[in-house]
């Protein structure tokens, strides 16, 4: 059988496939090629994007750009650099700064969408019994009451909280302003904030949106200067409210007796506010 190729190697296409060069004992390397120790192009492009974000988010910290050395040998090193950036963003507002899936596409995604962490309740996804009181108490008060139009439905609220019942038409979200005017003592002063958070009506995006509702509602915002500044401002407003709120949620929360005491205090505050709105309807929000 003939083994000679009709296209001898000596006439290979220059620049495309030159087997004669490839087969040489000492390959000829163009002298101008200095790619040794430089990360691959995909890493360089990601580094450029990371640098762009540093400039946008931290214009006053140029030293962070000059101190981040791009000697990345693998995707883990790339992810670590992005985590360092996100860790610095966390000082402005909460973001997911851990990258569990060290895949270049996943890492890159963090540089195109702000992985912000909203603090609001996902009331239709969260298990209410997993929440700290008085959040479940307020949710059941709003959504688990006996419905006159559907009389066959049990009043779940009555079943769950027989010792802390409230008037049927007491609607917590209508009492927010009255509760604020009552100047409740700490930590009950967070009650109107909690009611608004459960009602998604605080007006603050960190408090009104939960992680799942953010994902369902279009996902994370893209990185741009306006959104970064806005998120930082929103977080400054949300932080004291959340601190106040956690004081209420953690207060009297260790034993059933303590929780009963807390619910009594909450119920009494709500009833006082409700009575005030009955005598002075203008106080209703």
């Amino acid at each position: 059988m003939q083994t000679n190729s009709p296209y001898p190697l000596a006439h290979s296409a220059p620049g495309i496939l030159d087997l004669t060069v490839t087969l040489q004992a000492t390959p000829s390397v163009p002298t101008n090629l200095t790619c040794a120790n430089i990360p691959p192009l995909s890493f360089l492009l990601l580094a450029d994007r990371l640098a762009e974000l540093y400039e946008m988010v931290f214009p006053d910290r140029p030293e962070w750009l000059s101190s981040e050395v791009v000697d990345w040998e693998d995707e883990t090193a790339v992810a670590a650099a992005v985590e360092r950036f996100l860790g610095r963003v966390s000082a402005l507002f909460p973001v997911h700064d851990d990258i569990w899936d060290v895949d270049l596409e996943v890492v890159e995604w963090r540089l195109y969408e702000i992985p912000v962490i909203p603090m609001g309740y996902d009331i239709w996804h969260d298990e209410w019994e997993d929440l700290k009181e008085p959040a479940p108490y307020l949710l059941h008060m709003c959504y688990s009451r006996h419905d006159e139009d559907r009389s066959y439905r049990r009043d779940e609220f009555e079943d769950l909280y027989p010792d802390h019942l409230t008037p049927r038409y007491l609607e917590p979200h209508r009492l927010v302003e009255t509760l604020r005017q009552m100047a409740l003592p700490e930590p009950l002063d967070a009650l109107p904030d909690l009611i608004e958070m459960l009602d998604h009506s605080t007006g603050n995006s960190f408090l009104d949106v939960g992680e799942l509702s953010l994902a369902e509602g279009g996902g994370y915002p893209p990185w741009n200067r306006e959104d970064v500044e806005w998120l930082a401002e929103e977080w400054q407003k949300a932080k004291p409210i959340l601190e106040r709120l956690h004081r209420l949620l953690d207060w009297q929360n260790n034993t059933p007796e303590e929780i009963g005491f807390k619910l009594t205090a909450v119920r009494d505050a709500l009833q006082d506010a409700y009575q005030q709105t009955l005598t002075c309807p203008a106080a209703t929000k």
Partner: protein, 85 residues
């Protein structure tokens, strides 16, 4: 009858391709001189990086196009291998 002709045309076309440099060479040349290579250094050459990355992408796209075109060429018996080997 036309099959050997297709190979001839392909080889002719590939042989006619002019020599070219790796489009990433200018990036390597500039960034290779930076020690250490920092985000700041990369940012200073962002235009160069993107221009030549685009060229590399265009080239990859063109090569892929050739590969796809070649895949459409019907199998041709080679002098050294029987058809269907």
């Amino acid at each position: 009858m036309n099959q050997p002709l297709a190979i001839d045309i392909l080889v002719g076309a590939l042989t006619a391709v002019p020599e070219y440099d790796n489009p990433l060479n200018p990036i390597y040349e500039v960034l290779g001189r930076q020690r250490p290579l920092t985000l700041q250094a990369i940012r200073q050459h962002t235009q160069l990086l993107h221009d030549h990355a685009d060229q590399a992408r265009d080239q990859t796209f063109a090569v892929n196009k050739v590969i796809l075109s070649c895949k459409r060429i019907p199998p041709t018996p080679l002098p050294i291998l029987p058809l269907g080997f």
